[in-house]
């Protein structure tokens, strides 16, 4: 070793729960490998307890996040886009480290992910207008319907496909912008973009617990997610057994489950900027009130 050679500081990527960055309580880690099998980094390997902690944090954050004005939520999500814009290089490097994508392709994905964040920031104070209604009931009643966030959503990325960061953001943003508290599980093979988003969240003033990010084995976590009684909805990209587990388990407490296939095209702007993506993450509340004195 030459005298002047600098030894790089290696980073272990940690979980993001309740605004803090803990290791897995289980002490487990996962090795993250590059496209040629080289070791990239070590990750925390989330356990069932970590999932429970994250759901608990999300539940605690839900009243504050859903009760904040839509304008404030919009500004916070927009701030997240500002933070991500400042880390474009890191995000592209994170994508490339595990996918081996060209710089150009990775940068294009980062740009799309940031633009999608901006788009959904804008939905925060608009989807209520598009999805709500004033209903002309045949009687002297003022009757209106409005979408409310469902509660705690788990966004589970089991199989990230071609665009891990864009996919991760597309899973997280609709439930988050609707006012749900989100527990996101990043694909353990391509998690670096998601973990950089987690690192950006506190500086964007995302309240602690409103967004939590775990890394772990999707197959393992899926059954715990499906069976968790305090999870209201699931937004997943998964195939095969993981998908089947989520669907079957969810029936227990009638979770709203949306499972996308591994080849979902997150680049489809029409589909992924459409407020219909919110359907599973809001409940429509209809209020009747007499309107004749």
């Amino acid at each position: 070793m030459a005298d002047n050679e600098r030894i790089p500081v290696l980073k272990t990527w940690k979980l993001f729960v309740k605004g803090a960055f803990p290791r897995s309580e289980s002490g487990r880690t996962l090795a993250l490998h590059g496209p040629k099998g080289e070791l990239v980094a070590h990750l925390s390997h989330a356990s069932r307890k970590d999932l429970r902690d994250a759901v608990e944090a999300a539940r605690a954050a839900f009243p504050g996040w859903s009760g904040a004005t839509a304008y404030l939520r919009g500004q916070i999500v927009y701030r997240l886009a500002e933070m991500l814009e400042g880390r474009r290089g890191d995000l592209a490097d994170g994508i490339r480290a595990t996918t081996g994508a060209s710089r150009k392709k990775a940068e294009a994905e980062v740009d799309r992910a940031i633009d999608r964040t901006v788009c959904w920031a804008g939905w925060c104070d608009k989807f209520q207008m598009v999805l709500g209604s004033r209903n002309p009931v045949a009687g002297p009643y003022h009757n209106f319907s409005m979408p409310e966030p469902g509660g705690v959503c788990v966004a589970l990325q089991a199989d990230a496909g071609e665009t891990p960061l864009l996919g991760f953001m597309s899973l997280v943003l609709p439930p988050l912008c609707a006012g749900n508290a989100v527990v996101a599980v990043a694909d353990a093979r391509h998690p670096l973009g998601a973990l950089l988003v987690a690192e950006s969240a506190p500086t964007a003033d995302v309240p602690a617990g409103a967004l939590n990010v775990l890394t772990g084995q999707a197959a393992e976590l899926a059954s715990w997610v499906a069976g968790h009684r305090d999870v209201d909805s699931v937004h997943a990209q998964a195939g095969g057994e993981v998908a089947a587990t989520l669907r079957a388990g969810a029936a227990e407490n009638l979770k709203r489950v949306t499972v996308l296939s591994a080849d979902e095209d997150f680049g489809d702007e029409e589909r992924w900027t459409n407020p219909r993506r919110l359907a599973s993450f809001v409940e429509t509340k209809t209020i009747w009130h007499p309107s004749s004195a």
């Binding site: 839509a70 304008y71 919009g74 500004q75 927009y78 633009d115 901006v118 788009c119 920031a121 804008g122 939905w123 925060c124 104070d125 608009k126 207008m129 598009v130 002297p140 003022h142 900027t273 407020p275 009130h289 007499p290 309107s291 004749s292 004195a293």
Partner: protein, 521 residues
């Protein structure tokens, strides 16, 4: 010198006294503040002094304020300039460029040139410019608030807490619409209208600029904006912000001037859409001009908005709503709740409490953070208001004004005022005063309240005060008004459409409905 004529029932009181705005030094900051009555209904407690609490952010105002055309600040081709004064001190703040027809030509040409590239820009990229503008307004909020107060006379607490934050929200909200327009218009293929000519009033200078610019830009239009002649400064500061945000040249052009400048703009052949906020009188003239050329038009005009207090209202809360409704921004509010209808059984209670509350309001230095009522925007407007107060007295109304506090020696001031014994035919019950003057009337049944409230050529806003929910919705439904505030008043939000029925204009600003005016049919 204060005499209250409120002991007598409505209609029976003689003319009590009309107070002239008097001169007197305003250095001591002695206010004639009294506490509202205690719950036992005893007399007010003794007044106390307030120390001055002036806003201190220094704002530099350039000696000359030029036009903003094609992304550059330029001297007017007209070669003419006019003074803008601080209505609280009568000091000249700056010399403002007076744009003439040739200046308007240049601005419209710049907007036309910018239209194609701006409207072809991908919507999500257009959005980024609007987000930048919203952010810069937030970052320069204090400066904008101080400048707004210096130029227009409104209390700093209002420019700081209402005008500027709402202006930022308007840009932020509309930024998000840029790439979502197809969801705002049913079955729509959203396309911009083209070049918009926008003329705005002096009561909320920056906020009105935001209300006009944000939806127009979000929909892909380009704009020529004409601020009111007494309040150009914040619009020009906004132009600086647009430059900072690298908004493409010509997308927004600002031409300052008075009525002739505005006329040249709204009658310009190169303008595809006109939006005007101001008086109904001018609005009708503009409507004629636009009708002749088939120009798209939206108008947000005057009002004489009713504020109805039922006996079953939470009276103390209603008093705050009445105060907010008529004395917010010196009453320079198109939707001011300037006709108060009180159910007869609670009239004595309401007028008594209103008088108490009115006397706690502090009139004076708009830059003082404790000031409730700032300066009247211009000498001309002060004269108009004084004429109306005199007319009310001549017609037999009882004029109640808080009168003990000394007013500054210079500047344009009007004490908060209400009149009782007002009959529907009185001029103060029919015409828009645009000042801190409230006409108080009574009613016996909801039907009477509604029919009298609707008995106006205007239909901008209305207030309803009752604790009974069904009555809220029933009365709200039957009122002819574009905005009905129930158990609140003067609330504004970028997501909420604003605009009037009848001669208060047509079209809405804000919310989803506000976008329609800026999209081709």
């Amino acid at each position: 010198m204060w005499t209250s004529g409120l002991g007598s029932p409505e209609g029976a009181g003689p003319i009590h006294r009309v107070f002239k705005v008097e001169s007197g030094r305003f250095r001591t900051h002695r206010y004639d503040r009294r506490m509202p009555e205690s719950s036992s209904g005893t007399a007010p407690v003794a007044p106390w002094d307030y120390s001055p609490a002036p806003e201190t952010v220094p704002v530099t105002v350039p000696e000359r304020t030029r036009l903003f055309v094609g992304g550059k600040f330029i001297d007017p081709r007209s070669g003419r300039w006019f003074d803008t004064v601080n209505p609280a001190t009568e000091a000249v703040l700056s010399r403002i460029a007076e744009g003439d027809a040739s200046d308007v030509d240049a601005a419209v040409a710049a907007a036309r040139k910018a239209l194609k590239p701006w409207s072809k820009l991908p919507a999500r990229e257009r959005a980024k410019y609007l987000y930048r503008i919203a952010r810069r307004i937030q970052e320069r909020a204090r400066e904008l608030a101080v400048l707004e107060t210096m130029d227009g006379g409104k209390p700093i607490k209002e420019s700081r807490d209402v005008d500027v934050p709402l202006a930022a929200q308007h840009f932020f909200h509309h930024a998000g619409w840029c790439d979502k327009l197809r969801y705002a218009v049913p079955g729509g293929d959203p396309r911009p209208v083209g070049v918009c000519g926008q003329v705005i009033p002096w009561n909320f200078p920056l906020l009105m600029a935001a209300w006009k610019l944000a939806p127009a830009l979000a929909c892909g239009n380009t704009v020529v904006l004409k601020p009111a002649e007494t309040t150009s400064l914040t619009a020009m500061r906004l132009a600086e912000i647009l430059q900072e945000c690298d908004l493409p040249p010509g997308v927004v052009n600002i031409v300052t001037g008075a009525g002739d400048t505005g006329r040249a703009l709204v009658e310009h052949d190169g303008v595809d859409k006109v939006a005007f906020t101001g008086s109904t009188e001018v609005g009708k003239r503009i409507a004629k001009a636009c009708a002749a050329r088939g120009t798209r038009l939206t108008l947000e005009l005057g009002g004489k908005s009713p504020n109805i207090v039922f006996a079953d209202a939470a009276i103390d809360q209603a008093i705050e709503g009445i105060v907010q409704g008529i004395w917010f921004n010196q009453g320079h509010v198109c939707c001011a709740g300037s006709r108060l209808f009180v159910e007869e059984s609670v009239l004595p209670e309401v007028t008594r409490k209103l008088e108490m509350r009115m006397r706690t309001l502090r009139v004076g230095d708009p830059l003082d953070k404790n000031t409730d009522i700032g300066a009247i925007n211009s000498k001309g407007q002060l004269q108009t208001i004084e004429r109306y107060i005199a007319a009310g007295a001549e017609e037999g109304c009882t004029v109640c004004q808080s009168g003990q506090q000394a007013l500054p020696a210079k500047g344009y001031w009007c004490r908060p005022t209400f009149m009782t014994g007002v009959q529907p035919a009185h001029v103060v019950a029919r015409e828009e005063i645009f000042g801190p003057v409230l006409a108080v009337m009574s009613f016996r049944t909801p039907e009477e309240a509604i029919s009298r409230a609707n008995n106006s050529p205007y239909g901008l806003a209305a207030g309803v005060w009752t604790e009974k929910g069904s009555k809220v919705f029933d009365v709200a439904r039957r009122l002819q008004a574009g905005v009905v505030w129930c158990n609140t008043y003067n609330q504004f939000d970028a997501t909420s459409p604003f605009g009037g029925f009848k001669e208060s204009g047509f079209g809405r600003e804000g919310g989803m409905q506000g976008l329609a005016a800026y999209l081709a049919e």
